[in-house]
Amino acid sequence: MDILNAIVVLANYIFVPAMTYGSQLALGALGITLIYGILRFSNFAHGDTMAFGAMAVILATWWMQSLGVSIHPLPTALLALPFGIAVTALLLLATDRVVYRFYRRVKAVPIIVVMASIGVMFVLNGVVRFIIGPNDQNFADGARFIFTAGDFKRATGLDEGLALRSSQVITVLAAVALVAALFWFLNRTRTGKSMRAFSDNEDLALLSGINPERVVTVTWLIVAILVTVAGTLYGLDKSFKPFTYFQLLLPMFAAAIVGGLGNPLGAIAGGFVIAFSEVSVTYAFKKVLGYLMPENLAPDTLVQLLSTEYKFAVSFALLVLVLLFRPTGIFRGQSL
């Protein structure tokens, strides 16, 4: 019984939140890794593109809610996703046309493009705040819980509860579906293969007649889908506030680099590594140990490695460790 209680506590406070957070990070890191692999620069505007995508979805959601459109018990935001993706795709293609294409033409070194992307980041930062404001926005509807902690306790008779929110399940399912579709696309379709060829060796790809502008366009389209879905899921599961998306930049980059930049599989693994370490390093294990250890050995202190204020420091520390000891990341991506 005590062991079951300990497992439930772990599931409620570590496994479920970290799975959800990890899926959101993985989708974000996939976008970063794709841009790095194919367009060959680190896109600092990624977090704010996510905010922009989520904002577009929120606006469409509000419009649908005002019309009374609903897919209860699922959140209306899912229905608004295609609209948000379309708007974000237009934005990304426009920034490519206005900013990045010039640097590709002049074959600028990557660091210059990175600087340009920081500029894009600031512009998007302002655009999002200008349109929707800097505050929290609430757009979640539909059923909030699959089952609550109270339901779980009543059903199982355990002392500890486990809550499962619908947004958490939707997040994980959507991430799995999206990743599967992306891998099928990259490995099975002609366009996908040409993208991988372009990523592996640009000159050889050009010689074999691959149209670079087409590869670039398709990449931005895929990135639009990934960021919009990731941004919307994060907003649904937690809350939408433009600033928090900017803060996501660090854990997402950490995920992409830890997994191996340019390697899609690595981005996913990296996302979960970062999420699980952030959550478990700052978790207080007092209750779990209280259940597992004999009564006289139960800890008095919180058994917390790091206070929760240092959550972002965890991804930073992991990033530094990986760069020091395995610069190519877990899955052997390109080294920095």
């Binding site: 406070y13 570590i14 902690a149 779980f152 509860g161 809550a163 700052t282 294990f285």
Partner: protein, 394 residues
């Protein structure tokens, strides 16, 4: 050149003339720009209303009182000190109503008020640290210290039979000070605080913070935060994870938007915020309305009281010298004597002039304790069916 000399001579003689006429200046230094700029106009209006009332009564024996405004910025101690310095050295104010935020108030007290020997009465600085600050008897406040709120929280928890609590606070001076005073008071009353942990405002996800709080346990979670910031996020995440289902809400968390945002999960929670059922609050609200501003705005009644106390103490001492009338402030604020409510300042001045005693109650039911700070009156509230209802006043 000649003209300038002439002009400055004229100005100098004007200034000398002004100084000769019995004119008392009171500085009002509040954050007219900065994070609390939305409430300071109503605070300044409160202080100026008291001054106008005294002037109109014609009973103030030391001359006409003029208010002089200055900007404390609420957060920039350097700017606040410079502004206070200007009030004292160039405007020659006899006393100061202010400052507003605890940090700048402390800086002005140490850098300007003490060196120059000027009385400061703050209507809104609530940090417990100011209770123990060196003040040479010059510093008073009509707002209660958060240490007092800690005591009130401990009383409320005790009366509800709660033995153990977890505390989380927003990571700034206000949150930390309040959380520490709640912990001290609750533990002194025999309660157990399982954890006292900070949370940052403006994050999207508070599940990690709630995880630590839940692991420590406790019957009730005390959330010393802000209702539209991290405090809301902590409560939402606690309810989602089933970690806590009853919350104690200090003043920063009490507002109609909280039950509206959280929903039925908040029912059964309780809290407190400064408030009084004293008749003074209502009559002050009417006076403010007649004067064209909102008297129910936060700390506006306290500002009226701050200015009124300064002038009553001057009258009682028969002097506008801070070093003299600072000793009379406690006496006019507290019993014994005739109770004085807003709008009765003229009557109060008359009683003092006749040698009588007054007990200034004012708009915020002032009762100065300890080193000269308001004892504070709190409204204990319950959340019932998604609405905030008054339980009682304490």
């Amino acid at each position: 050149m000649k003209k300038i000399l002439l002009a400055s001579a004229a100005i100098a003689s004007l200034a000398a003339g002004a100084a000769m006429a019995e004119d008392v200046k009171i500085g009002i230094i509040l954050g007219f720009t900065g994070p609390i700029e939305s409430i300071t106009p109503n605070m300044a209006a409160g202080a100026e209303l008291a001054i106008k009332e005294v002037n109109d009564s014609g009973k103030f024996s030391l001359g006409m009182v003029t208010p002089v405004r200055a900007d404390s910025t609420c957060i920039d101690s350097g700017a606040a000190t410079a502004a206070a310095e200007r009030l004292v050295t160039s405007d020659k104010v006899a006393a100061i109503v202010g400052g507003d935020c605890s940090g700048v108030t402390g800086a002005m007290l140490q850098n300007v008020a003490r060196p120059n020997g000027i009385v400061m009465v703050s209507p809104s600085a609530t940090s417990p640290a100011l209770s123990t600050a060196e003040d040479d008897g010059l510093f008073f406040r009509t707002a209660p210290s958060d240490a007092r709120q800690g005591q009130v929280v401990a009383d409320i928890l005790g009366e509800r039979g709660i033995k153990s609590v977890a505390i989380t606070y927003t990571n700034n001076d206000y949150g930390k000070g309040l959380a520490d005073s709640i912990q001290a008071a609750f533990e002194a009353a025999g309660g157990k605080v399982t954890i006292n942990a900070a949370h940052e405002d403006g994050k999207a996800d508070y599940s990690a913070e709630v995880g630590a709080l839940a692991s420590a346990g406790g019957e009730v979670l005390v959330v010393a935060g802000y209702l539209d910031q991290g405090g809301k996020g902590i409560i939402q995440a606690s309810l989602d994870a089933g970690a806590f289902d009853t919350f104690e809400l200090p003043d920063g968390m009490v507002g109609d938007s909280l039950p509206a945002n959280i929903g039925p999960g908040l029912n059964g929670s309780f809290g407190q915020h400064p408030g009084t059922d004293s008749p003074g609050a209502a009559s002050y609200g009417d006076m403010a309305k007649a004067a064209g501003y909102d008297g129910t705005s936060a700390f506006s009644p306290e500002s009226y009281d701050a200015a009124a106390l300064i002038m009553l103490a001057m009258q009682a001492a028969g002097s506008t010298d801070s070093k003299v009338f600072k000793d009379n402030l406690m006496a006019v604020a507290n019993a014994p004597g005739e109770k004085i409510y807003p709008g009765e300042l003229g009557k109060a001045l008359e009683i003092i002039a006749a040698g009588g005693d007054i007990d200034y109650v004012g708009a915020s039911a002032v009762e100065l304790i300890g080193g000269g700070e308001s004892a504070g009156n709190y409204r204990e509230i319950d959340i019932k069916d998604g609405a905030i209802v008054t339980n009682k006043y304490r």
